[in-house]
Amino acid sequence: MARDVLIDLQHITKVFPPDTVALADVSVSFESGEIHALVGENGAGKSTLMKVFYGLERRDAGDIFFRGAKVEFRTPREAIAAGIGMVHQEILLIPEYTVWQNIVLGAEPVSAFGTIDVHRAREAVRQKIEEFQFNLDPDTLVGDISVAARQKVEILKLLYRNVSVLVLDEPTAVLTPQEIPQLFTELARLRDKGHTIIFISHRLDEVLTLSDRVTVMRRGKIVGTSAASKLTKEDLARQMVGREVLFTSRRQPQEPGEIVFRAQGLNCSDTEHRARLHDANVEVRAGEIVGVAGVEGNGQFELVNAIMGLVPMTSGTLEVKGKDITHADILTRRTLIAFVPQDRGKMGASLAASILEDAIMTHHILDPRFRTWKGLGLNYRHAAEFVDQIRDQFAVNMGHLSDPFHSLSGGNQQKVILGRELLLETPFVLMDQPTRGLDVGSIEYVHQLLLALRSKKRAVLLISADLDELFMVADRIVVMCQGDVVADLATDATNGEEVGYYMLGGKKDAAHAETDS
């Protein structure tokens, strides 16, 4: 199918002072009516390129052509007026406003005295919803709808302004796996109606499923553009990372040792007194990785918090290495459990604190070598040595120790947290979505680390929304559904279909069918 070139970016260069080259002579063109994926690792320059195009960032050199004419958008408003809209990673809506109010904000139809013509506004929004089959109610409050629905509102907000080009910056990052196919259906429908979609992502499967053409970026440069149908996941990963990436399991057969972690009959309620965890039993042996699968919000969050002592349990017992920690305080638990939380920026680390401060958290209390002056002072020399150790052992790419933690890329942040937790040398390791939001290279690194822990005879409990990940590293997969542990399966004796079946609530009676494998 021959399409016209709609957007042509030529020789775009962007340097962040003093000397970080974000985009080095980047040229790429987008055709009308295509879904064009822009992929690359974090920091490859995908978002920066689109921000330059959209008028959010200045560029240092290069030209932008739109519909054959040279253009210059100084603000997003000018880009929208020209028919180009961008949906950012973080959703920018007002939860206190209804769907239609959010959509018309800034372009409201008015009648006398500047009053909003509610009828006309709602009708216009309703028409757009029908035209694109978005399945939204214009009168619900945005605060009451799911993240996926909010994303639709963002897209509709641009469609209401009659844009023909949509730029989506990692739209699936905020969605649960179940919500992604629907977004893809809607994007495909938009394309079929003649819209052009530029889709920024680093998730390879998605890119191959959705897009017509794929442009790969690496370190501020274009690696190449090709038709998605001619690419494999391995090709893409190689282009993105610049070397071969392993996707297959390298889990060596290994006999697990004695039981290290045992949770029995855990019951837990949320703040509204709804039961979130019913009689959950989980065991992890030394040298074993147990994966927890489940649709998000089926008790995984409560399981993690109960284990770490962050929420009170109604009943049940917790045991690590034969020691009862059911009523132990958090610090005692930390001597036995290494914990990598789901949310790096909130629970895993303080983004505003320095790298050094984040790296020594917990250690500075548990390890007397971090203290001087009879515990009143902090031994900075030892702390600095410790951070060096993390950097060398976990291959962290970082600036100075006193730089803020948020100056690190997502992958490096996670490496610092992993390093800090694993150097606690605890028998039990609890990881909650350790690869979420990371790029391919970092994910591979985390998987290697998990397998290394396994061979070192540590016990690992891994919560993950990514079934492929669980099948790659876990020995057993525990499936949670509505707060129940509904299945406990040996990875080698099951498949994704069976796990998915349990995740969606099939065969509840078969719970705890196998406890050991």
């Binding site: 997003p76 920018l92 007002i94 939860p95 406003y97 109010q101 904000l105 800034g106 009053t115 909003i116």
Partner: protein, 297 residues
């Protein structure tokens, strides 16, 4: 019966400046500005009202001067807090302290008096007898015959509820407070909306100030706003900016303020009765938070 009319009248008189300042404050509240400068704007307004009324021999020009004075204060606030992004709280404190110092200094410099300036040459804002209603026996005495600014305050309340909840400006105003980045990305600069909200606030505070010095009494006294700007801030925050709620709180405060005047004749020391409105404010804060806690549980 006379006691009742007296109390109602005292309540309305006490409520008016608070209501006006709070209605101004509600605009900045919705725009997402932590504006505590109502006190200073009101005080400068009160001084400028006397200045204009005395020298220009017209209460109307006095009121205009009051609004102009408050607008200058708002201009300073806009320059610092909106344009230069200084801290809103610190800017507000600075403006309030500046207002006390400036008006005291000018009072001594221009009128050569200490404490208070009063003169027969100061023209007061007239009272208004409402047509039709004035003729009705009971209602007329209850509702008619107040100072012009009282009716302006009522009008401002109704108008503000309409503007904030029904108009395009209102939608954008509230959006600026809820999520300024969202408003910006929708193509409306949030800073422009904030500037307009401060201008509206200054007009309201100017009127409140003019009422203090040309309506309530006919003089200017040092620091005569006496914390009413702060009470109005409390009213705004207490009801999360709802204009009708502000009206109720203002009347409540006015009632206790009126009660103070009534009790002055009794044996209770005046310093003690003067505390009543402020104790009432604390009391309502307490009741409000208890109720809120119960609702959440």
């Amino acid at each position: 019966m006379n006691v009742l009319f007296g109390l109602v009248s005292a309540m309305v008189v006490g409520a008016t400046p608070i209501l006006l300042a709070a209605i101004g404050g509600t605009f900045t509240f919705y725009a997402g500005i932590f504006n505590i400068a109502m006190e200073g704007m009101m005080l400068v307004g009160a001084f400028c009202a006397v200045l204009g009324s005395f020298f220009l021999h017209s209460w109307f020009l006095g009121v205009l001067c009051a609004i102009a004075g408050a607008l200058i204060m708002a201009g300073i606030f806009i320059l610092f807090a909106v344009k230069l992004h200084t801290d809103e709280f610190l800017t507000g404190i600075a403006l309030n302290l500046f207002a006390v110092g400036l008006t005291t200094f000018l009072l001594r410099d221009i009128f050569h008096v200490k404490g208070a300036f009063t003169d027969a040459g100061i023209r007061a804002i007239p009272s208004v007898k409402l047509p039709l209603i004035d003729g009705i026996p009971f209602l007329g005495r209850l509702l008619s015959g107040y100072n012009l600014i009282v009716y302006v305050a009522v009008l401002a309340t109704v108008l503000s509820a309409f503007v904030i909840f029904r108009t395009r400006f209102g939608l954008r105003l509230r959006a600026a407070g809820y999520n300024a980045v969202c408003l910006n990305s929708s193509g409306v600069p949030a800073s422009m909306i904030r500037i307009w909200s401060l201008i509206v606030c200054a007009v309201c505070c100017g009127l409140a100030g003019a009422y203090l010095s040309l309506g309530y009494v006919r003089l200017f006294a040092e620091n005569m706003s006496a914390g009413r700007g702060w009470i109005s801030l409390a009213a705004v925050i207490l009801v999360s900016g709802n204009p009708w709620g502000i009206a109720v709180i203002s009347l409540l405060f006015g009632f206790f303020d009126g009660l103070t005047v009534f009790l002055q004749g009794s044996r209770i020391p005046t310093q003690f009765t003067a505390m009543i409105p402020y104790v009432a404010t604390l009391g309502s804060l307490y009741l409000y938070s208890v109720r809120k806690k119960r609702r959440q549980a």
